[in-house]
Amino acid sequence: MRIKKHPILEFDREKKLRFYINGKELYGYEGETISAALFANGVTTFSRSLKYNHPRGFFCGIGKCSSCLMTVNGIPNTRTCITPLKDGVEVKTQDAYADLPETKHKRHKKKVINTDLLVIGGGPAGLSAALEAAKHGVNVLLVDENPILGGQLIKQTHKFFGSREEKAGTRGVEIAQQLRKEVEKQENIRVFLKSTVFGYYECEQNHCFGMVKRREDYTEEIYELHCKSVIFACGAMENMLAFPGNDLPGVYGAGGVQTLMNVYGVKPGRRVLMVGSGNVGLIVSYQLLQADVDVAYIVEGLPKIGGYHVHAAKVRRCGVPILTSHTIVEAYGNERVEGARIAKVGKNWSIIPGTEMDVKCDTICLAVGLTPSIRLLSQTGAEIRFIREAGGHVALHNKNMETTVPGVYVAGDGSGIEEASTAMLEGKIAGFSAAYKIKNKAFDSKPLKLYHEELERLRDGPFGVKGRKAKEKIAVQWSDKR
């Protein structure tokens, strides 16, 4: 299931690694995650459900959904989608609640780090925020859960839209590389990868967080972080859709499949049904074709295609049908997806009888929207509101991305679902504002105005309506609050 040749990407498979699944020997490559290596070997069932013993597998591919939990070297509940494969590692499928290993309770010795600014999340927003703040002389600690910096940019093989300032015409993977290089050059940015910020704690002057860093041998180190300001650039997670069979291995987030395919070079299956025709659904469908995976249909519940026409045209001229006013009724299969039934939807999303159709496929990708990740952010006490256009609950924030808790900022999808281009600008604004405050306004605030203008321009068109409305609502509720 590994992609050997790809029109855009090259996969580095220099070092072969041996590993075990339930005692059976398999091979993977250095740079792959455990999930990717299992997929490449055709293993798609990672655990079994508590009540019905259903097979369970991968879903989001970026450590957000906990669907891929397995026991790794005796450590249960390991998120295998963000855990790098090591030579000789023993992986076991879990049944419902995994048994905790017998360990002598050691007190973890915690390390303490003090920094000016903590940036949580190393995607387009977090990277831009860290760079912007660091350029203004602020010490930054940048933390990300994944093994690679870049967030969702690292799997975007298409050229970006926007203008030259937002690197339009450049592929997301290349933007990630450029930003990574800039971060490496900044001596005042310290990066922690494979690290999770897990809790916000009260302390007198600063903001205080707990962080766990995963070592090479899968054991962990505990840190206590103190910072003057913090920027939450935690991104978003993919939405689930309710239908019978949605827990079968083979039903994956479209973004999860994109990670598997474009970061690790592993195909999710042979034939895919794509659910959702927003830009994510359209782009991932095109990328599946590039990886030589067949796309049976793209189904869209609404009467019209959600994403850009140019993305739809790219898949249509390859012969992939897009069925608007259609939805998935059911996924079926024993150990994994063997097919799906789709049907036409009428008013109020009701299925029109007699329109059901069988689709033979081994993979179903869900591209049905994203929800901002705010679980950690909400611990700070920042005011959270449900804003439909933002994709769910988000923290109220002002124009400079500061929440109702002074010194706590948000940026990117975590502050309302939009695009990578807007995320980068919001990151710059948050980074700039945080630095401006930390440094007591010791530099010119002119760039901030330019960033705001650029952001307005990006949200100006009909496809920016949702983002614009979300931010307007947030602004209104923010001023009501004051």
Partner: protein, 156 residues
């Protein structure tokens, strides 16, 4: 609602087409019909034939100014620009292509329309790499000038 919003397939009526004379010279046909925040084609044009008042505008091309250089075909993030040049009864169509295998000059490839339906075979007359996107020029009958928008190499 426009039909293409439902199907993803443009019809000729959705486009502003060049004249016979302009086609003989060879021009870029921009199949970008929505207000999306994107403008690299404007920056890429060496003769300023493509204009846009702001980034969310639909690009407007001045076919008289266009020299058919193909710079915009290579940069368009939506792969929505095609070069079309007619000569007598034949047409040369240049298509942005991001699949494998990349065809060679002289290969015969399957032509596909905007629906991905097969329209017969054509000869590849030029292959130009522009980064990871390849621009493949095929030569075919003139009647396909505004019909063929993709190729399939594997089945050919």
């Amino acid at each position: 609602m426009k039909e293409y919003e439902k199907t993803g397939v443009l019809s000729i009526e959705d486009l502003r087409l060049p004249s016979e004379e302009q086609l003989k010279k060879g021009v870029a046909v921009i199949e970008c019909v929505q207000n999306i925040p994107c403008n690299p084609c404007v920056d890429a044009c060496p003769v300023k034939a493509i204009s846009m008042r702001n980034i969310n505008d639909i690009p407007v091309i001045d076919y008289d100014k266009c020299t058919g250089c193909g710079n915009c075909v290579a940069v368009c993030p939506g792969l929505a620009i095609f070069l079309v040049k007619t000569k007598d009864d034949t047409v040369f169509i240049s298509i942005p292509y991001e699949f494998l295998p990349i065809p060679n000059v002289g290969d015969r490839v399957e032509m596909l329309d905007r629906r991905g339906e097969k329209k017969g075979k054509a000869e590849v007359v030029r292959v130009r790499r522009a980064g990871k996107t390849t621009i493949v020029t095929i030569k075919t009958e003139k009647r396909f000038a505004m019909v063929v928008r993709n190729i399939r190499v594997k089945d050919a």
